[in-house]
Symmetry: C2
Amino acid sequence: MERIARDIDHAFDLLLAIPDDPRRRLYEAMRYAAIGGGKRLRPLLVCASCDLYAVDGPAALRVATAIECIHVYSLVHDDLPAMDDDDLRRGKPTVHRAFDEAAAILAGDALHALAFEVLADPATHADPFVRSELCLELARAAGPSGMAGGQMMDLAACAAPMDLATITRLQQLKTGALFGFCLESGAIMGRVPPEGRTHLRGYARNIGLAFQIIDDLIDVEGSAEAAGKAVGKDAAAGKATFVSHLGVERAREQARLLVDQAIEHLTDHGAEADLLRAIAGYIIDRDR
Amino acid sequence: MERIARDIDHAFDLLLAIPDDPRRRLYEAMRYAAIGGGKRLRPLLVCASCDLYAVDGPAALRVATAIECIHVYSLVHDDLPAMDDDDLRRGKPTVHRAFDEAAAILAGDALHALAFEVLADPATHADPFVRSELCLELARAAGPSGMAGGQMMDLAACAAPMDLATITRLQQLKTGALFGFCLESGAIMGRVPPEGRTHLRGYARNIGLAFQIIDDLIDVEGSAEAAGKAVGKDAAAGKATFVSHLGVERAREQARLLVDQAIEHLTDHGAEADLLRAIAGYIIDRDR
C-alpha cells in the first residue's frame, strides 16, 4: 500500500505540473486534493486485478491514476457545503476550506475530465479497443447509473429512511460501481471478455458492501483522528445505514461473511490472486 | 438549427429515461438542464464538421449529444452560487434554483460522465481507434488545459483585470477548446490525421473568439429577455472583456474580421463547407 501510494503521488505530480498563468490556482487545488493521504484502495484494486492477467506495471499505474482522479473528484464535490458540508478530509481541511467553493467545484470537474484524458491516451495501452472499453466502463461506473446515481440516493436517504435492500442498492451504486471498474480493468487490459469477468464482479460487489459496512462502523465507533474525517455524522443526520439496521455486532459479522464470499470468488485463481485475498482481509481490519 | 435542436432533445429524452427509484430526482435535474432551449451551436458545429467528411448522421448526432452534455454540465456548474450565481438560464430558472445546489452539482457531474459514456459506446462509431481518439480530444478540451482551466482564469479576471492577450488566451481555453473539439470531431470520424486538421482548428479559433466578443456585446447591449439570461453582469463585476478594452464599435469590427478569417480557412472546401460558412455568419448576427 505504501508503494502504490508513492507511485500515485508521483503520477499526479507529473500530470499536474503547475502552469505559469492564472490557471495556477486550479492546479494547486487539484494537487492539494489528489496528492498525499488517502488509502489508495482503488488503485491497489486495479493493480491486484492486473496481477491476475499479467498486465504490465505502467499500464496498471495509469488506470490506477485515472480511477483515483474519479474518486478524488467525488470526495471534493461530496464535501461541498451543499452536499455533506465536511471540513476535514484525509486529515486536513477539505478543498473548499483550504481554497474556496469555486476552486473546489472546478478542481473536481478538472479531475473528472483528467481521468478520461489519462485512460484514452495511447500511453495507457497500445490497443485502442482496450482504451475505448476502459473509457466506456469508467464512464458507466461514474455516471448517473453508477456513482452519481448512488450519491443522489444517499442525499435522499436523510429525507426518507431506507430499508436494507435500498441501502444495499445505494451502496452498490455509490461505491460498488467504481470497485467493479477497478476489478474489471485488469481483465479488460488482459482482453478477457465480459462473460469471463463474473467472478471479478462478484468479488467487487462483496468487498464493496463489506467496505461500506466497516465505513459505517468507523462512523459509529472510530475517532476522527484515526479516520482523518468527521465521525458520528450518520447518527446525527438520522441516516439509515447497515449499522443502524443491523446493530454493531451483526453488521461486523455481515462484513466478515461478505469478505469470505469475496475470497470464494477467487478459487479458480492461484497465487496471482493473493493480493486480492490480502485486500479483502485488510478491508475488514482497517480503522480508517 | 431547429432540426438539430429537435434531434438533440430527442437523444437526451432517450438517454435520460427516468428510473423508478430514488435516483429519479437526479435524472429530472439532468433532463431539466439538457432538454429544451439553448442554441445547440456546438452540436451544429459537429454536424457541419461531419458534412466535410461525409460522416453518417447517427454518428454525428451521438458526438453532438456528447459535446452538448459537456456544455450543459459546464453551464449548470457555472451558474452555481459559488461561481457566477445566476438565477436565469435559457429563459428559465437555473438548475440550483429549480431544484437545489446538491442536485445541480450532481446533475452536472452525471452529464460530464455521460458525455464519455456516449462517445466510448460502439454505437457511436465501429472503429475503436476513433472512439478512443474522440474521448481523448474531448477530455483534453474539457479538462484543466482546456475549458476548466479557462473557467478558473475567468474567476481570476474579476480579481485582477487582464490585458487583451490574457483575455484572448482565457477565451481560447474557456470556449475555444470545445469549439475546436466540435470542428475536429468530423475529421476524427473521417480518419483525417491531425496534420490535416489545421484549417479546422483555425476556423474554430476564429469563430470562438468572434462568438465571445458577441457574447460580451450582448451582455452590454442586449436584453435579458432575448438573451434568456441576466445581462450587464461583466460591467457590474468590473470584469475586463473584449468590449471593455476595445469599445462597442471596434469590438464588433473585430468580430466581423474574425468571421471573415474563419471563412478563409475553408477555401479548400466546396459546397460541403456551406453549413460552416453559414454558421460563421450566424455567430455575428445572433442576439442570444
